[in-house]
Point group: C2
Chain length 213, copies 2
């Protein structure tokens, strides 16, 4: 039997107001930085006084948490489906492109979701679980395509977040690092699909030329 929740105009209104508050908070964070968020500013932006917010959120961190949850939802909701894509390179490009675009188009959101920069804030277990699920689907994708080299997933996350980080830190709004993405995927695939060398590669110089010392 389908569970059709009875509509409750009161709680609907309440949810709408909560969403409005969260949206105002995002706008402020995008403008002034994630850490600069203040309840006064949020309240003023939605036409309230600061204490009124406490009717909707228990604390400032509670607002951060709602923002976190919303951000994760946004990420998973728009994740491209690559299950029908046979070409690994193509699929990975698609996923990588989605990730870096998602991150760089809203640095404040990136900071909240992927870095740990707000002093006392920890996302709620539910929201966090959703993001862990997403990463595990990604791990499954690697597995399905035979990317089993030890550390391959970690190398991939380092590479993509590195591009995002440099882009945001050193060329905000530009594409100096973003445009390296396809090359990065190729580079990574060459690494990940290559069997790890039996004997660790030239620790010592492969005899360049003569002069032995």
């Amino acid at each position: 039997m389908l569970d059709i929740p009875k509509r409750d105009r009161r709680s609907e209104r309440r949810e709408a107001t909560r969403a409005e508050i969260v949206e105002a908070a995002w706008e402020l964070c995008r403008a002034d930085g994630l850490a600069a968020l203040s309840l006064r500013d949020v309240a003023r932006r939605v036409g309230m006084q600061a204490p009124s917010l406490y009717s909707y959120f228990a604390s400032k961190n509670d607002i951060y948490d709602a923002m976190f949850a919303q951000g994760v939802q946004e990420f998973v909701a728009a994740e491209p489906d690559v299950s029908a894509t046979r070409c690994l390179r193509e699929a990975l490009r698609l996923l990588a492109h989605y990730f870096v675009t998602f991150c760089t188009e809203d640095p404040a959101r990136y900071q909240l979701l992927f870095q740990r920069t707000i002093p006392g804030f920890e996302p709620s277990p539910e929201s966090f679980a959703t993001s862990v699920d997403s990463l595990q689907r990604f791990a499954a994708f690697f597995e399905a395509h035979g990317l089993r080299r030890a550390g391959a997933l970690d190398m991939y996350t380092a590479l993509t977040t590195g591009l995002v980080d440099q882009q945001i830190s050193n060329d905000p709004g530009g594409d100096r690092w973003l445009r390296l993405l396809d090359d990065a995927v190729d580079m990574f695939l060459a690494y990940a699909t290559q069997p790890p060398p039996k004997n660790p590669p030239p620790k010592n110089p492969p005899p360049k030329k003569r002069t032995r010392k």
Copy 2:
């Protein structure tokens, strides 16, 4: 003619106190996070009252600036000299290892030097110039070893800072990403020393490039 500055016990003492203050600030940042620094705490740690700090620094940002300058000095002072190293791979491993170790061994320092996370803070031009110099020496190293592929330097910085970032964010104190460093260097060199393919590798037409805005 050699410029031997006359010793001035007063200013020597003053410099020593400044250094003491900066060191106290670092300790607090390492413990509580970079953004949590407060003048009161710094003062208490050096046995002063907060206003006394203003005899040594004009503002809180002035302290951050001294910390930044000190951090940059530390980095360049201990930079390994690879000019005598003939093997590119070996040299790059050395430099990369130095960089990621420097960054991960003190995340607060990494945050101040390489990320832009303190709201109103901009490093002074002198300190900033020193760090730019360091990067340019690195660019010269690339040039000298024939690493001229477009974007190679940017790819390298993305890769190394990505490892640092993931390490700090997701495995602080561990080595889950650090131990991938040698592989990362190999992966990068395979990419950078390989001529860019004439026609983009994969079969399907390169997915629509990110539209410029």
